[in-house]
Protein backbone atom coordinates (compact mmCIF):
# COMPACT_ATOMS: atom_id res chain seq x y z
CA UNK A 1 0.00 0.00 0.00
CA UNK A 2 2.71 2.52 0.77
CA UNK A 3 4.27 1.73 -2.62
CA UNK A 4 1.03 2.01 -4.57
CA UNK A 5 -0.17 5.27 -3.04
CA UNK A 6 2.21 7.59 -4.94
CA UNK A 7 1.44 5.80 -8.21
CA UNK A 8 -2.28 6.15 -7.68
CA UNK A 9 -1.83 9.81 -6.76
CA UNK A 10 0.27 10.46 -9.86
CA UNK A 11 -2.28 8.70 -12.03
CA UNK A 12 -5.11 10.77 -10.58
CA UNK A 13 -3.19 14.00 -11.17
CA UNK A 14 -2.54 13.02 -14.75
CA UNK A 15 -6.15 12.10 -15.21
CA UNK A 16 -7.30 15.45 -13.90
CA UNK A 17 -4.73 17.33 -15.92
CA UNK A 18 -6.02 16.25 -19.29
CA UNK A 19 -7.50 13.50 -21.38
CA UNK A 20 -5.45 10.41 -21.83
CA UNK A 21 -4.84 10.91 -25.52
CA UNK A 22 -3.23 14.26 -24.78
CA UNK A 23 -0.69 12.67 -22.50
CA UNK A 24 2.72 11.63 -23.72
CA UNK A 25 4.95 9.37 -21.68
CA UNK A 26 8.42 8.17 -22.55
CA UNK A 27 11.06 6.26 -20.67
CA UNK A 28 14.42 5.01 -21.78
CA UNK A 29 17.82 3.66 -20.89
CA UNK A 30 21.00 5.19 -22.19
CA UNK A 31 24.60 4.25 -22.73
CA UNK A 32 27.26 6.55 -24.02
CA UNK A 33 30.68 8.08 -24.02
CA UNK A 34 31.68 11.11 -21.95
CA UNK A 35 34.63 13.46 -22.45
CA UNK A 36 35.42 16.03 -19.80
CA UNK A 37 38.05 18.65 -20.54
CA UNK A 38 39.33 20.88 -17.77
CA UNK A 39 41.54 23.82 -18.62
CA UNK A 40 43.17 26.13 -16.10
CA UNK A 41 46.44 27.81 -15.46
CA UNK A 42 48.02 24.50 -14.59
CA UNK A 43 47.17 23.04 -17.97
CA UNK A 44 44.61 20.86 -19.67
CA UNK A 45 43.17 17.63 -18.36
CA UNK A 46 41.06 15.20 -20.40
CA UNK A 47 38.93 12.60 -18.68
CA UNK A 48 36.87 9.93 -20.42
CA UNK A 49 34.11 7.67 -19.25
CA UNK A 50 31.45 5.30 -20.38
CA UNK A 51 28.13 6.27 -18.92
CA UNK A 52 24.86 4.53 -18.37
CA UNK A 53 21.65 6.13 -17.32
CA UNK A 54 17.93 6.43 -17.51
CA UNK A 55 15.66 9.19 -18.63
CA UNK A 56 12.01 9.90 -18.96
CA UNK A 57 9.46 12.50 -19.78
CA UNK A 58 5.78 13.04 -19.42
CA UNK A 59 3.74 15.64 -21.19
CA UNK A 60 0.16 16.77 -20.69
CA UNK A 61 -1.11 19.13 -23.31
CA UNK A 62 1.51 21.86 -23.63
CA UNK A 63 3.21 21.23 -20.28
CA UNK A 64 5.87 18.62 -19.71
CA UNK A 65 8.29 17.29 -17.16
CA UNK A 66 11.51 15.48 -18.03
CA UNK A 67 14.43 13.98 -16.20
CA UNK A 68 17.80 12.48 -17.02
CA UNK A 69 20.22 10.56 -14.92
CA UNK A 70 23.65 9.22 -15.90
CA UNK A 71 26.72 7.99 -14.19
CA UNK A 72 30.14 6.85 -15.16
CA UNK A 73 33.70 6.62 -14.03
CA UNK A 74 36.07 9.22 -15.44
CA UNK A 75 39.64 8.26 -16.03
CA UNK A 76 42.55 9.87 -17.72
CA UNK A 77 46.20 10.86 -17.39
CA UNK A 78 47.59 11.38 -13.95
CA UNK A 79 44.36 12.68 -12.50
CA UNK A 80 42.76 10.45 -9.92
CA UNK A 81 39.70 8.56 -11.11
CA UNK A 82 36.43 10.33 -10.53
CA UNK A 83 32.91 9.07 -10.50
CA UNK A 84 30.56 11.24 -12.51
CA UNK A 85 26.95 11.44 -11.46
CA UNK A 86 24.61 13.74 -13.37
CA UNK A 87 20.95 14.44 -13.13
CA UNK A 88 18.51 17.02 -14.31
CA UNK A 89 14.82 17.79 -13.96
CA UNK A 90 13.25 20.11 -16.48
CA UNK A 91 9.80 21.61 -16.70
CA UNK A 92 8.77 22.43 -20.25
CA UNK A 93 6.18 24.61 -21.89
CA UNK A 94 5.39 24.09 -25.56
CA UNK A 95 3.49 27.08 -26.95
CA UNK A 96 3.73 25.85 -30.53
CA UNK A 97 4.35 22.45 -32.05
CA UNK A 98 7.99 23.00 -32.99
CA UNK A 99 9.13 25.15 -30.11
CA UNK A 100 9.40 24.63 -26.35
CA UNK A 101 10.92 26.41 -23.39
CA UNK A 102 12.47 24.47 -20.52
CA UNK A 103 13.71 25.38 -17.12
CA UNK A 104 15.09 23.37 -14.25
CA UNK A 105 18.07 22.25 -12.17
CA UNK A 106 20.98 20.33 -13.56
CA UNK A 107 23.16 18.69 -10.92
CA UNK A 108 26.54 17.13 -11.42
CA UNK A 109 28.81 15.51 -8.90
CA UNK A 110 32.41 14.49 -9.39
CA UNK A 111 33.41 12.09 -6.65
CA UNK A 112 37.04 11.22 -6.03
CA UNK A 113 39.13 10.17 -3.08
CA UNK A 114 40.01 13.83 -2.65
CA UNK A 115 36.41 14.81 -2.14
CA UNK A 116 33.19 15.55 -4.00
CA UNK A 117 32.76 18.45 -6.33
CA UNK A 118 29.13 19.47 -6.60
CA UNK A 119 27.65 21.57 -9.37
CA UNK A 120 24.08 22.71 -9.23
CA UNK A 121 23.15 24.74 -12.27
CA UNK A 122 19.78 26.25 -13.08
CA UNK A 123 19.33 26.30 -16.80
CA UNK A 124 16.94 28.03 -19.16
CA UNK A 125 16.57 26.18 -22.42
CA UNK A 126 15.02 26.67 -25.82
CA UNK A 127 14.06 23.56 -27.75
CA UNK A 128 13.38 23.32 -31.47
CA UNK A 129 11.88 20.15 -32.99
CA UNK A 130 11.02 19.02 -36.48
CA UNK A 131 9.54 15.93 -38.10
CA UNK A 132 12.13 14.99 -40.70
CA UNK A 133 10.82 11.92 -42.46
CA UNK A 134 8.13 9.56 -41.29
CA UNK A 135 9.15 8.33 -37.84
CA UNK A 136 12.42 10.31 -37.75
CA UNK A 137 12.50 13.48 -35.70
CA UNK A 138 15.24 15.99 -34.97
CA UNK A 139 15.59 18.08 -31.85
CA UNK A 140 17.99 20.70 -30.58
CA UNK A 141 18.16 22.17 -27.06
CA UNK A 142 20.24 25.27 -26.49
CA UNK A 143 20.64 26.62 -23.00
CA UNK A 144 22.30 29.01 -20.72
CA UNK A 145 22.95 28.73 -17.03
CA UNK A 146 20.90 31.32 -15.21
CA UNK A 147 21.86 30.38 -11.65
CA UNK A 148 24.48 28.24 -9.99
CA UNK A 149 25.62 26.75 -6.76
CA UNK A 150 29.00 25.06 -7.01
CA UNK A 151 31.41 24.05 -4.27
CA UNK A 152 34.64 24.73 -6.15
CA UNK A 153 37.14 27.37 -5.07
CA UNK A 154 36.66 29.45 -8.18
CA UNK A 155 33.63 31.60 -8.65
CA UNK A 156 31.18 30.49 -11.35
CA UNK A 157 31.04 32.88 -14.30
CA UNK A 158 28.84 31.45 -17.05
CA UNK A 159 27.67 28.26 -18.60
CA UNK A 160 26.20 27.24 -21.97
CA UNK A 161 25.23 24.03 -23.60
CA UNK A 162 23.41 22.32 -26.44
CA UNK A 163 21.84 18.95 -26.98
CA UNK A 164 21.17 17.57 -30.47
CA UNK A 165 19.00 14.48 -30.76
CA UNK A 166 18.00 12.30 -33.68
CA UNK A 167 15.10 9.97 -32.80
CA UNK A 168 13.67 7.11 -34.80
CA UNK A 169 10.38 5.65 -33.61
CA UNK A 170 9.27 2.27 -34.87
CA UNK A 171 5.98 2.75 -36.67
CA UNK A 172 4.23 -0.35 -35.36
CA UNK A 173 5.77 -0.58 -31.93
CA UNK A 174 6.22 2.06 -29.22
CA UNK A 175 9.97 1.73 -29.27
CA UNK A 176 12.32 4.58 -30.03
CA UNK A 177 16.05 4.83 -30.63
CA UNK A 178 17.82 8.14 -30.11
CA UNK A 179 21.33 9.31 -30.86
CA UNK A 180 22.27 12.30 -28.77
CA UNK A 181 25.24 14.63 -28.78
CA UNK A 182 25.52 17.04 -25.89
CA UNK A 183 28.16 19.71 -25.31
CA UNK A 184 28.47 22.01 -22.29
CA UNK A 185 30.96 24.62 -21.28
CA UNK A 186 31.37 26.40 -17.98
CA UNK A 187 33.71 29.28 -17.20
CA UNK A 188 34.96 30.06 -13.70
CA UNK A 189 37.18 32.66 -12.07
CA UNK A 190 37.10 35.20 -14.83
CA UNK A 191 37.69 32.58 -17.48
CA UNK A 192 40.78 31.25 -15.77
CA UNK A 193 39.15 27.83 -15.53
CA UNK A 194 37.08 26.21 -18.23
CA UNK A 195 35.23 22.98 -18.05
CA UNK A 196 33.83 21.33 -21.16
CA UNK A 197 31.88 18.11 -21.12
CA UNK A 198 30.59 16.23 -24.12
CA UNK A 199 28.25 13.23 -24.27
CA UNK A 200 27.53 10.94 -27.18
CA UNK A 201 24.65 8.79 -26.05
CA UNK A 202 22.47 6.08 -27.48
CA UNK A 203 19.05 5.89 -25.88
CA UNK A 204 16.60 3.03 -26.22
CA UNK A 205 13.19 4.11 -25.05
CA UNK A 206 9.55 3.24 -24.81
CA UNK A 207 6.98 5.85 -25.67
Amino acid sequence: MPVRAPLVLAWCILGLAGPLDAQQVAFGASVGAVRLTRENQAGKVLLSATSVGVEGAIGVSVVGLGFQYAQGSLRGGTTPDQDLVEGELMVSLRPVRNLAFLFGPHARALVSRLGTERWLLYEGRVRGEAVLVGPVRGRLDVWRVVGSNVNVPEAFDSGYGLDGVLTVTLPSFPLGLSLRYRAERAQLANDTRRESIEHLTLVLGLR
Binding site: L132, V133, G164, E198, H199
Partner: protein, 351 residues
Protein backbone atom coordinates in the same frame (compact mmCIF):
# COMPACT_ATOMS: atom_id res chain seq x y z
CA UNK B 1 -110.17 -3.21 -92.81
CA UNK B 2 -112.86 -0.60 -92.94
CA UNK B 3 -113.79 -0.70 -89.28
CA UNK B 4 -110.16 -0.36 -88.38
CA UNK B 5 -109.69 2.65 -90.58
CA UNK B 6 -112.78 4.22 -89.11
CA UNK B 7 -111.51 3.64 -85.60
CA UNK B 8 -108.15 5.03 -86.50
CA UNK B 9 -109.65 8.08 -88.07
CA UNK B 10 -111.80 8.61 -85.03
CA UNK B 11 -108.80 8.31 -82.78
CA UNK B 12 -106.87 10.68 -84.95
CA UNK B 13 -109.63 13.19 -84.93
CA UNK B 14 -109.91 12.79 -81.22
CA UNK B 15 -106.28 13.65 -80.82
CA UNK B 16 -106.38 16.42 -83.38
CA UNK B 17 -109.20 17.93 -81.44
CA UNK B 18 -106.80 18.52 -78.59
CA UNK B 19 -104.70 21.66 -79.14
CA UNK B 20 -101.20 20.73 -80.30
CA UNK B 21 -99.50 22.97 -77.77
CA UNK B 22 -101.20 21.00 -74.99
CA UNK B 23 -99.86 17.68 -76.20
CA UNK B 24 -96.42 16.51 -75.25
CA UNK B 25 -94.06 14.95 -77.76
CA UNK B 26 -94.16 11.69 -75.87
CA UNK B 27 -97.96 11.59 -76.04
CA UNK B 28 -97.88 12.34 -79.72
CA UNK B 29 -95.43 9.50 -80.34
CA UNK B 30 -97.59 7.10 -78.37
CA UNK B 31 -100.59 8.20 -80.38
CA UNK B 32 -98.66 7.92 -83.62
CA UNK B 33 -97.63 4.37 -82.77
CA UNK B 34 -101.22 3.48 -82.00
CA UNK B 35 -102.34 5.01 -85.29
CA UNK B 36 -99.68 2.94 -87.11
CA UNK B 37 -100.84 -0.18 -85.37
CA UNK B 38 -104.37 0.72 -86.46
CA UNK B 39 -102.98 0.99 -89.99
CA UNK B 40 -103.84 4.68 -90.20
CA UNK B 41 -100.50 5.59 -91.70
CA UNK B 42 -101.49 9.12 -92.63
CA UNK B 43 -102.54 9.91 -89.09
CA UNK B 44 -99.47 8.14 -87.74
CA UNK B 45 -97.18 10.16 -89.97
CA UNK B 46 -98.91 13.37 -89.05
CA UNK B 47 -98.80 12.69 -85.29
CA UNK B 48 -95.20 11.55 -85.34
CA UNK B 49 -94.04 14.57 -87.35
CA UNK B 50 -95.84 16.80 -84.93
CA UNK B 51 -94.08 15.01 -82.03
CA UNK B 52 -90.73 16.15 -83.36
CA UNK B 53 -91.99 19.62 -84.15
CA UNK B 54 -93.41 20.60 -80.76
CA UNK B 55 -91.05 22.37 -78.34
CA UNK B 56 -90.98 19.40 -76.00
CA UNK B 57 -89.67 17.24 -78.85
CA UNK B 58 -86.15 18.24 -78.05
CA UNK B 59 -86.42 16.70 -74.60
CA UNK B 60 -87.25 13.23 -75.88
CA UNK B 61 -84.98 10.41 -74.91
CA UNK B 62 -82.95 8.76 -77.62
CA UNK B 63 -84.99 5.57 -77.31
CA UNK B 64 -88.29 7.44 -77.61
CA UNK B 65 -86.97 9.51 -80.48
CA UNK B 66 -85.77 6.33 -82.25
CA UNK B 67 -89.13 4.69 -81.72
CA UNK B 68 -90.89 7.68 -83.23
CA UNK B 69 -88.56 7.76 -86.23
CA UNK B 70 -88.85 4.07 -87.04
CA UNK B 71 -92.66 4.23 -86.93
CA UNK B 72 -92.60 7.41 -88.98
CA UNK B 73 -90.35 5.81 -91.60
CA UNK B 74 -92.54 2.71 -91.74
CA UNK B 75 -95.65 4.88 -92.09
CA UNK B 76 -94.07 6.75 -95.00
CA UNK B 77 -93.26 3.48 -96.73
CA UNK B 78 -96.85 2.39 -96.50
CA UNK B 79 -97.95 5.83 -97.67
CA UNK B 80 -95.79 5.30 -100.75
CA UNK B 81 -93.25 7.97 -99.84
CA UNK B 82 -90.11 5.90 -100.19
CA UNK B 83 -87.73 8.88 -100.41
CA UNK B 84 -89.23 10.40 -97.30
CA UNK B 85 -88.94 7.07 -95.52
CA UNK B 86 -85.27 6.82 -96.45
CA UNK B 87 -84.65 10.30 -95.14
CA UNK B 88 -86.39 9.43 -91.89
CA UNK B 89 -84.37 6.21 -91.55
CA UNK B 90 -81.17 8.15 -92.32
CA UNK B 91 -82.01 10.43 -89.45
CA UNK B 92 -82.65 7.40 -87.26
CA UNK B 93 -79.29 5.82 -88.17
CA UNK B 94 -77.42 9.03 -87.39
CA UNK B 95 -79.25 9.23 -84.08
CA UNK B 96 -78.50 5.65 -83.14
CA UNK B 97 -76.13 3.77 -85.42
CA UNK B 98 -76.74 0.59 -83.44
CA UNK B 99 -80.50 0.64 -84.05
CA UNK B 100 -81.97 -2.38 -85.75
CA UNK B 101 -85.49 -2.99 -87.05
CA UNK B 102 -87.56 -5.39 -84.94
CA UNK B 103 -88.63 -7.89 -87.55
CA UNK B 104 -91.42 -9.20 -85.34
CA UNK B 105 -93.04 -5.77 -85.43
CA UNK B 106 -92.27 -4.48 -88.93
CA UNK B 107 -92.71 -6.30 -92.22
CA UNK B 108 -89.72 -7.21 -94.39
CA UNK B 109 -90.17 -4.32 -96.79
CA UNK B 110 -89.59 -1.87 -93.92
CA UNK B 111 -86.54 -3.78 -92.72
CA UNK B 112 -85.15 -3.87 -96.25
CA UNK B 113 -85.44 -0.14 -96.72
CA UNK B 114 -83.95 0.48 -93.28
CA UNK B 115 -81.00 -1.83 -93.91
CA UNK B 116 -80.35 -0.19 -97.25
CA UNK B 117 -80.27 3.20 -95.63
CA UNK B 118 -78.17 1.97 -92.71
CA UNK B 119 -75.49 0.51 -94.95
CA UNK B 120 -75.05 3.66 -96.95
CA UNK B 121 -75.18 6.00 -93.98
CA UNK B 122 -71.92 6.68 -92.15
CA UNK B 123 -72.65 7.19 -88.51
CA UNK B 124 -70.76 6.40 -85.38
CA UNK B 125 -71.31 6.73 -81.72
CA UNK B 126 -68.48 6.78 -79.17
CA UNK B 127 -68.87 5.39 -75.67
CA UNK B 128 -66.38 6.44 -73.03
CA UNK B 129 -66.78 5.73 -69.32
CA UNK B 130 -67.57 8.92 -67.46
CA UNK B 131 -64.64 8.27 -65.12
CA UNK B 132 -61.74 5.86 -65.44
CA UNK B 133 -58.77 5.33 -63.15
CA UNK B 134 -55.78 3.21 -64.09
CA UNK B 135 -52.06 2.93 -63.52
CA UNK B 136 -49.49 3.09 -66.23
CA UNK B 137 -48.86 -0.36 -67.58
CA UNK B 138 -52.33 -1.52 -66.68
CA UNK B 139 -55.41 -1.37 -68.90
CA UNK B 140 -56.06 2.21 -69.95
CA UNK B 141 -59.09 4.16 -71.02
CA UNK B 142 -61.45 1.89 -72.95
CA UNK B 143 -63.15 3.59 -75.86
CA UNK B 144 -65.84 1.72 -77.80
CA UNK B 145 -66.96 3.00 -81.17
CA UNK B 146 -70.17 1.70 -82.73
CA UNK B 147 -70.71 2.13 -86.41
CA UNK B 148 -73.75 1.92 -88.63
CA UNK B 149 -71.76 0.70 -91.61
CA UNK B 150 -68.37 -0.33 -92.77
CA UNK B 151 -66.18 2.69 -93.35
CA UNK B 152 -62.77 4.12 -92.50
CA UNK B 153 -62.31 5.57 -89.06
CA UNK B 154 -59.54 7.37 -87.26
CA UNK B 155 -59.41 7.83 -83.51
CA UNK B 156 -57.02 10.30 -81.94
CA UNK B 157 -56.29 12.13 -78.74
CA UNK B 158 -55.84 15.84 -79.29
CA UNK B 159 -54.97 18.80 -77.19
CA UNK B 160 -57.65 21.41 -76.85
CA UNK B 161 -55.92 23.45 -79.54
CA UNK B 162 -56.18 20.53 -81.95
CA UNK B 163 -52.56 19.40 -81.71
CA UNK B 164 -52.24 15.67 -82.18
CA UNK B 165 -51.15 13.83 -79.03
CA UNK B 166 -51.76 10.19 -79.86
CA UNK B 167 -53.17 8.26 -82.78
CA UNK B 168 -55.23 5.45 -81.32
CA UNK B 169 -56.55 3.90 -84.50
CA UNK B 170 -56.75 4.47 -88.22
CA UNK B 171 -58.45 1.87 -90.37
CA UNK B 172 -61.70 0.19 -91.22
CA UNK B 173 -64.53 -0.23 -88.79
CA UNK B 174 -67.40 -2.67 -89.16
CA UNK B 175 -69.97 -2.98 -86.44
CA UNK B 176 -67.89 -1.78 -83.55
CA UNK B 177 -64.35 -1.16 -82.48
CA UNK B 178 -62.57 -1.08 -79.13
CA UNK B 179 -59.52 1.13 -78.68
CA UNK B 180 -57.52 1.80 -75.53
CA UNK B 181 -55.51 4.83 -74.52
CA UNK B 182 -52.72 4.18 -72.04
CA UNK B 183 -52.07 7.83 -71.18
CA UNK B 184 -49.01 8.15 -73.40
CA UNK B 185 -48.30 10.39 -76.34
CA UNK B 186 -47.13 9.10 -79.70
CA UNK B 187 -43.49 9.23 -78.57
CA UNK B 188 -44.25 7.11 -75.52
CA UNK B 189 -44.04 9.96 -73.03
CA UNK B 190 -46.64 10.19 -70.34
CA UNK B 191 -48.94 13.10 -71.09
CA UNK B 192 -49.09 15.94 -68.60
CA UNK B 193 -52.36 16.50 -66.78
CA UNK B 194 -54.85 18.75 -68.51
CA UNK B 195 -57.76 18.84 -70.90
CA UNK B 196 -57.76 16.77 -74.05
CA UNK B 197 -60.17 15.68 -76.75
CA UNK B 198 -60.89 12.17 -77.88
CA UNK B 199 -61.68 12.65 -81.56
CA UNK B 200 -63.02 10.15 -84.05
CA UNK B 201 -63.46 10.93 -87.71
CA UNK B 202 -65.51 8.73 -90.04
CA UNK B 203 -64.47 8.99 -93.68
CA UNK B 204 -66.66 8.31 -96.67
CA UNK B 205 -65.48 6.57 -99.83
CA UNK B 206 -64.00 9.86 -101.08
CA UNK B 207 -61.97 10.34 -97.94
CA UNK B 208 -64.13 13.20 -96.74
CA UNK B 209 -65.07 13.39 -93.11
CA UNK B 210 -68.68 12.38 -92.89
CA UNK B 211 -68.99 12.43 -89.14
CA UNK B 212 -66.75 13.58 -86.35
CA UNK B 213 -67.27 12.83 -82.69
CA UNK B 214 -65.37 14.66 -80.00
CA UNK B 215 -65.35 13.69 -76.35
CA UNK B 216 -63.74 16.19 -73.94
CA UNK B 217 -61.39 14.44 -71.53
CA UNK B 218 -60.12 15.82 -68.25
CA UNK B 219 -56.89 13.99 -67.45
CA UNK B 220 -55.40 13.93 -63.97
CA UNK B 221 -51.94 12.45 -63.53
CA UNK B 222 -50.71 11.49 -60.08
CA UNK B 223 -47.06 10.61 -59.66
CA UNK B 224 -45.24 9.34 -56.62
CA UNK B 225 -42.78 11.86 -55.18
CA UNK B 226 -39.19 11.23 -56.17
CA UNK B 227 -36.27 11.21 -53.76
CA UNK B 228 -33.68 13.99 -53.96
CA UNK B 229 -30.35 12.97 -55.42
CA UNK B 230 -27.42 13.11 -53.03
CA UNK B 231 -24.96 15.94 -53.47
CA UNK B 232 -21.46 14.98 -54.52
CA UNK B 233 -18.96 14.77 -51.68
CA UNK B 234 -18.12 18.21 -50.40
CA UNK B 235 -14.58 19.42 -50.88
CA UNK B 236 -14.20 19.52 -47.11
CA UNK B 237 -14.72 15.73 -47.00
CA UNK B 238 -12.07 15.01 -49.61
CA UNK B 239 -8.51 14.50 -48.54
CA UNK B 240 -5.76 16.35 -50.40
CA UNK B 241 -4.55 14.16 -53.23
CA UNK B 242 -1.17 15.86 -53.60
CA UNK B 243 1.26 16.85 -50.95
CA UNK B 244 1.12 20.40 -49.79
CA UNK B 245 4.25 22.34 -49.02
CA UNK B 246 4.03 22.04 -45.22
CA UNK B 247 5.58 18.69 -44.25
CA UNK B 248 8.30 18.79 -46.90
CA UNK B 249 9.32 22.33 -46.06
CA UNK B 250 9.31 21.55 -42.35
CA UNK B 251 11.55 18.54 -42.91
CA UNK B 252 13.97 20.44 -45.10
CA UNK B 253 14.14 23.58 -42.99
CA UNK B 254 14.12 21.68 -39.71
CA UNK B 255 16.74 19.20 -40.80
CA UNK B 256 19.12 21.74 -42.28
CA UNK B 257 18.75 24.30 -39.49
CA UNK B 258 18.93 21.80 -36.64
CA UNK B 259 21.77 19.82 -38.20
CA UNK B 260 23.79 22.94 -38.94
CA UNK B 261 23.10 24.28 -35.46
CA UNK B 262 24.31 21.09 -33.82
CA UNK B 263 27.60 21.25 -35.70
CA UNK B 264 28.04 25.02 -35.70
CA UNK B 265 27.02 25.83 -32.14
CA UNK B 266 28.91 22.91 -30.64
CA UNK B 267 32.02 23.91 -32.57
CA UNK B 268 31.74 27.41 -31.12
CA UNK B 269 31.03 26.04 -27.67
CA UNK B 270 33.72 23.40 -27.58
CA UNK B 271 36.23 24.21 -30.32
CA UNK B 272 38.70 21.50 -29.41
CA UNK B 273 36.21 18.70 -29.28
CA UNK B 274 37.18 15.33 -28.03
CA UNK B 275 33.95 13.84 -29.43
CA UNK B 276 33.84 15.55 -32.80
CA UNK B 277 32.62 12.37 -34.41
CA UNK B 278 29.55 12.63 -32.23
CA UNK B 279 28.64 16.14 -33.22
CA UNK B 280 29.14 15.42 -36.93
CA UNK B 281 27.28 12.14 -36.77
CA UNK B 282 24.26 13.67 -35.10
CA UNK B 283 24.32 16.93 -37.05
CA UNK B 284 24.77 15.36 -40.46
CA UNK B 285 22.18 12.66 -39.71
CA UNK B 286 19.62 15.29 -38.83
CA UNK B 287 20.43 17.29 -41.98
CA UNK B 288 20.37 14.29 -44.31
CA UNK B 289 17.13 13.02 -42.79
CA UNK B 290 15.61 16.45 -43.38
CA UNK B 291 16.66 16.49 -47.03
CA UNK B 292 15.40 12.94 -47.50
CA UNK B 293 12.14 13.90 -45.83
CA UNK B 294 11.75 16.85 -48.17
CA UNK B 295 12.32 14.67 -51.21
CA UNK B 296 9.79 12.16 -49.96
CA UNK B 297 7.20 14.78 -49.07
CA UNK B 298 7.92 17.34 -51.74
CA UNK B 299 4.97 19.48 -52.74
CA UNK B 300 2.82 18.06 -55.52
CA UNK B 301 3.69 14.44 -54.93
CA UNK B 302 0.57 12.23 -55.23
CA UNK B 303 -0.80 10.90 -51.96
CA UNK B 304 -1.88 7.41 -52.95
CA UNK B 305 -3.67 6.63 -49.69
CA UNK B 306 -5.67 9.85 -49.89
CA UNK B 307 -6.49 9.26 -53.56
CA UNK B 308 -7.78 5.79 -52.71
CA UNK B 309 -9.80 7.13 -49.78
CA UNK B 310 -11.33 9.81 -52.00
CA UNK B 311 -12.09 7.24 -54.70
CA UNK B 312 -13.89 5.11 -52.13
CA UNK B 313 -15.89 8.13 -51.00
CA UNK B 314 -16.81 9.03 -54.58
CA UNK B 315 -17.69 5.41 -55.35
CA UNK B 316 -20.05 5.32 -52.36
CA UNK B 317 -21.67 8.52 -53.59
CA UNK B 318 -22.06 7.16 -57.13
CA UNK B 319 -23.58 3.92 -55.81
CA UNK B 320 -26.00 5.86 -53.61
CA UNK B 321 -26.94 8.13 -56.51
CA UNK B 322 -27.49 5.17 -58.83
CA UNK B 323 -29.71 3.47 -56.27
CA UNK B 324 -31.81 6.60 -55.87
CA UNK B 325 -32.02 7.10 -59.62
CA UNK B 326 -33.32 3.55 -59.96
CA UNK B 327 -35.78 4.11 -57.15
CA UNK B 328 -36.94 7.35 -58.77
CA UNK B 329 -37.30 5.66 -62.15
CA UNK B 330 -39.57 3.13 -60.51
CA UNK B 331 -41.55 5.84 -58.81
CA UNK B 332 -41.84 7.87 -62.01
CA UNK B 333 -43.14 4.86 -63.89
CA UNK B 334 -45.75 4.37 -61.22
CA UNK B 335 -48.21 6.89 -62.62
CA UNK B 336 -51.90 6.86 -61.81
CA UNK B 337 -54.38 8.36 -64.25
CA UNK B 338 -57.89 9.53 -63.65
CA UNK B 339 -59.74 10.46 -66.81
CA UNK B 340 -63.16 12.03 -66.76
CA UNK B 341 -65.14 12.20 -69.96
CA UNK B 342 -67.80 14.78 -70.78
CA UNK B 343 -70.71 14.40 -73.20
CA UNK B 344 -69.75 13.67 -76.78
CA UNK B 345 -70.13 16.33 -79.42
CA UNK B 346 -71.24 15.05 -82.84
CA UNK B 347 -70.61 16.89 -86.07
CA UNK B 348 -72.28 15.52 -89.19
CA UNK B 349 -71.51 16.75 -92.66
CA UNK B 350 -74.09 16.59 -95.42
CA UNK B 351 -75.29 13.08 -96.07
Amino acid sequence: MIPNRVVAAALSLGFVAVPASAQTAETLITSGVQAYENLDFDAAARLLRRAFAVPSGDSLTTAMRAQGLVYLGASEIFRGNSDTAQAVFGRLVRLDPRHRIDQFVFPPEVATVFETVRRRTIATVVEVPSSTSFSIGAAGLHVRVYSSSVHTLSAEVLRRDGTLVRTLYAGPIGDSLMVDWDGRANGGAIVPPGRYLLSTASLDANGTVARAVRVPLDVEVAREDTLPLPDPPADSLLLPERRMGGPGIEALAGGVVLGAAVIGLSSALVPASELAIGRYTVGLSIGIAGIFGFLQQRPGRPLVANIEANDRLRARWRAERLAIERENAGRLSNVAFTIRAAAAQVIDRGQ
